[in-house]
Symmetry: D2
Subunit: 161 residues, 4 copies
């Protein structure tokens, strides 16, 4: 079973710029995280962009959708900022078929000691192997169909609607 | 969906005893790891024992099987040492039915910076939600039916047989 | 030998606010860091403020100076943002005497895995025990008299002038 | 000011061997720790051996003493297992002169998340810059002359005698 992993950035991959005192993107940490988890799945990783999902445009989503469509794999995990993860999931649901696509992210950057990133990566890679075709969001240990989830910004977690 | 989490120890929960310079068990770190992963699943955690799986006896396995049988939940994750995880999985398969039971562990203790524990926890909690009744081993991002897996001790990973 | 530890915030104690996606101050991590370092010195810790040193005013510096002056200890370490650490050191030098005062900070927040905080804490606590009365800045493993140091913002380190 | 850093192993550099489930030595982590601490001192690092100090022989101590004697630097830090750190300090005190030598170690391996290693490294590098010639032990934030210290094995800390 081959799985495709698309990286789009989000809090998952943010880093601290010590010269400016701000958060920014450098390279993705996905390969390092998969090594840490001793993941032995047959994965193909591709970085599509490294942006905060609040900055995502229709153009960016079109790029993600096109890459999902043309990928040879029919099981895809996408790391994404949590703020507009549901929007992107909805966008993809309307344009893909025959593929199991799971979007995941992190509330705390992986580079911070107390990140949920590794846990979510384990979750999403497991869900993508067992769920039937469709678009899903995987956060907080759960998996939601794209049209039955929203981000509760006050609590900082994803809930069923 | 309620999930039961049984802790039996294994490398997952080992700690370094600085006074003796040896590895030992204290309390389980599962609650801490679930908080880190921001897991919002409805989980019931129970520590059954804290031992190295090389020291597990038939008596210990009987205890695990009995607890699985009497648990009200029909979805169960068991943290376990990797050395005899397959043996315990086989033992349980012969004694349980109607429940999805996933065994997982870690090659490096959670307390060590470079642990696969959090990743495996995310994986197993995802698999237990989607797999049909049966006994499984979840390691290295994969999930194996109890009778189709073994630990490759040389490589330090689990493979399909 | 009693040592006083004054906390003023700075990058040392910044945390990631997962709901806003920004950096902020909560409680100081100094006690936790001292426990980690297994520090057995006779220390008295007091949080004076938790601010970014770019936001420090004359009023804040006056508070720091007054607390240093009235402290019963004559050996004092102050955790401080790196951006205006030298300004505060100069301010204190003009107002204190008979005390060994060492300012230190961190380029990366302690809460991030790759922080220099713990190393700098060890350094400054050692320097404060051996240096003669005066005001110093301790960063990058070195110790500088207050009037012979500046922050090289481009390189992100402290150098002798 | 040039400082020499001799590595002899000890708990400082122990790692977890996931295939055997035991602790062992691989390469020293000193360079990585110095990078983390953003240490800008002029340091020369040399690994003399990587052993548990309980296994140290007269022959090993002779090697350490000879290297200290012939080093061009007169400020030296030695990382060492805590169990016989005081013995080695005494051995060196009888054979060296005109050099400031500070021995330090860690109660928990650096590779474990909760290590005192980085703190002790910061301490010892600071002490070696300010103390007069002699042999010292730096642990728990303190610095002890070689003949006024012992390891309290019950409490797991170093105390003055």
């Amino acid at each position: 079973m081959k799985i495709r992993l698309f990286v789009t950035g989000g809090t998952f991959d943010k880093e601290y710029n010590e010269l400016q005192g701000t958060l920014f993107f450098k390279d993705t940490h996905l390969p390092e995280m998969l090594r840490l988890g001793r993941c032995r799945l047959d994965l193909e990783i591709r970085t599509l962009m490294m942006i905060d999902s609040l900055d995502m445009t229709e153009s960016d989503r079109m790029l993600i959708a096109e890459n999902c469509r043309t990928a040879s794999e029919d099981r895809i995990v996408i790391t994404h900022g949590t703020d507009t993860m549901v929007e992107t999931a909805a966008y993809l649901a309307g344009r893909l078929s025959g593929k199991t696509v799971v979007l995941t992210g992190a509330m705390i950057p992986y580079k911070f000691g107390s990140s949920d990133g590794l846990f979510n990566l384990g979750s999403s890679l497991a869900f993508v192997q067992t769920l039937p075709p469709g678009v899903y969001v995987s956060m907080n240990g759960k998996c939601f169909p794209w049209n039955a989830v929203k981000k509760d910004k006050r609590a900082g977690e994803f809930i069923e609607i």
